[in-house]
Symmetry: C2
Subunit: 382 residues, 2 copies
């Protein structure tokens, strides 16, 4: 349902997002952090003034899609290729260590093997939106660390889906790991063919038409098309948006599109996404075994820093750079929440495990921006 | 419900809107017309490929709100004041003549007095979005005709609400005409105070913060706030957005806001609005007495051209200018549909009257752009 005061809520979100961003900058805090905290304050956890609804949720989703599309546009593909191995290592380390920590902690607290496996899977899935926005604010998205994180995020998404299909498949679900792999492979092959061979002629054709804002609208269309296809292939929509951005970034209209999408995102959509993270959190509903909750959260954060960090180090980065990359991989998001919600409705998770996931998402979103800022403040030791 | 292929539908809407706009320009047709027809083709009336849903409907609503906000930004207030009398006459003529024609045609076809009054009321309410977009394309929004139409549209909206409250009040509803008038008066007084005294300091304060896209986001926030308040006062949201635009247009950030909102609107929201007009039309459901339907539609169009045209002439415009103004007042929209839907669910209207309204909305949207283009093509005779 759309809330009858939707337009008022939208007005409050837009004006406060900018004021809280300004305040954050003044206190040398990352603006993203301010927006997320503002969302928690406005939402059901504290003041309960602004209600999220289906339209705000979709505006938020379009916001994060645009954010990752921009990140794709700005990615240096040559740099990304040269860091392919490092990205792979980062993803692998960031998957294995959190999974192991989540699994054994859960077993220690008495969960059965299947539930423990799911907790491990929840801890695997990085969601880099918070990192991307923080790196944009720090002007570090183009650093080799930024590129590695983005590459690792795609690999992480793929591993996460395969793992999820595998786990639910074991549990007697209808999910077939081979079908899942075929879908993902199909998506990558199809998007490579479309992106590599069709994007340039489409953009060139559109540019010739000289319709107002034509190139930007058509580029957005390609972005939404890739996001839709990714979701239908079982992957995250933002992965599709990022890949579309990579290909549009290879066309001659890169700058026009980048500027147009940035205006669109910064003045409207992106702020809604970050405020909505807080609006969707209901901290008052948190309940369960505090020992379990605290340990899993701790390992969720430490696991990514250590695992992804170690992977990046093996991949050839310095210790300092590896720490930055590890921190950048900490945020969890939609995927973790979706898995937990599925597990909760099927009776596999109790309120304790679900609350843990909610807290991981919100705490990782709050902790990552200041940690990243700190890690990038130190002078490069390379 | 949000359609599972929402992102795909959005992608199709965005890409086709630009291609059909380009095609329209090539064939010297107004782009708006092309987009509306494309919407009908894609929608349930013909191909049934793209489904509208709650999110697309709201993106469309935000689109028309942004369109009228832009129109407000670009309005020359001095010019509008100097044409106050002409706007009043235009609105009055455009209300009286269609009402009388609708009422007597309905009586002639055997409708009772109450239903006939409602048909008259439906014919009263102009919805200028199609006119505004066409005038923007023709670069005639700043003409004295354009300003007069916008002024008349506000007055028209107010008269329409009062008439509606009055009619349903007579029919034993709980609507009180005095409360209605008090609400509208309250809205205008409050929005004048807020707009005149607070907009400038708010914008000035925001500009000093130097947050990215800060001024644009805050101006949008004020726009949505005014739109929300207008709707709560019983008026159309676009009237509120237009008034907010008028006041933001008086600040020093007029140009920044105007450019930002135009990018936002042209590359994303506005196209969705015009395509969605077609998507929401179900021409296959049209049924009823063809004689009645044809005559009412005819009088709906002729009534506005004659009534508003005569009003503009009395207000001091030349015959040619008055014709342009009369044509600009022809489009009907949401208000007519809302009244008809209310009357249908209450059993006052049959399918015939409801179908008539749907056809008026769609035919007036299709006919106005080419008529306006033709009327403005003739050399000014002043």
């Amino acid at each position: 349902m759309v809330h009858p005061h939707f337009l008022l809520h939208l007005a409050i979100i837009l004006i406060l997002s900018k004021y809280v961003a300004a305040l954050s900058i003044k206190f040398k805090m990352p603006p993203v952090l301010g927006m997320i905290i503002m969302g928690i304050l406005l939402g059901p956890s504290v003041l309960d003034i602004v209600k999220t609804d289906i339209v705000i949720q979709w505006l938020a989703k379009l916001g994060v899609i645009l954010l990752l599309f921009t990140a794709g546009l700005d990615t240096d593909i040559a740099q990304m290729k040269s860091q392919g191995k490092a990205s792979l290592m980062t993803a692998a380390g960031g998957v294995l260590v959190p999974f192991a920590l989540g699994f054994f902690t859960s077993r220690f607290f008495g969960l059965d093997v299947f539930s423990a496996t799911l907790i491990g899977t929840v801890l695997m899935a990085t969601s880099v939106s918070v990192t991307v926005m923080t790196l944009i604010d720090l002007k570090k998205l183009h650093s080799s660390e930024g590129t590695t994180i983005l590459g690792a995020a795609i690999i992480d998404d793929v591993i996460g889906i395969l793992m999820l299909t595998f786990v639910f498949g074991l549990h007697g679900g209808e999910n077939n790991i081979l079908i899942s792999m075929a879908k993902i492979l199909g998506y990558f092959v199809a998007s490579f063919i479309v992106g590599f061979f069709l994007f340039k002629p489409i953009i060139r054709f559109t540019r010739k038409l000289e319709v107002e804002a034509g190139v930007v609208a058509v580029a957005l269309s390609l972005c939404f098309f890739f996001a839709w296809a990714a979701e239908k292939a079982g992957m995250a929509e933002i992965t599709g948006a990022y890949i579309a951005g990579l290909f549009v970034g290879q066309t001659r209209s890169k700058r026009t599109v980048s500027e147009g999408v940035e205006t669109l995102g910064q003045s409207f959509f992106v702020a809604i996404f970050f405020i909505n993270i807080g609006l969707e959190t209901q901290l008052r509903d948190i309940s369960g075994n505090p020992g379990f909750i605290i340990f899993v959260i701790l390992f969720a954060i430490i696991g990514k820093i250590l695992g992804s960090g170690a992977g990046a180090k093996i991949g050839g980065f310095s210790l300092q750079q590896s720490t930055r990359i590890g921190i950048g991989m900490v945020p969890r998001g939609e995927v973790a929440l979706i898995i937990s919600a599925m597990a909760l409705t099927r009776g596999i998770f109790t309120q304790t495990e679900y609350s843990t996931t909610v807290l991981i998402v919100i705490l990782s979103a709050i902790l990552t921006p200041p940690l990243l800022k700190w890690a990038f403040k130190e002078k490069d030791d390379v």
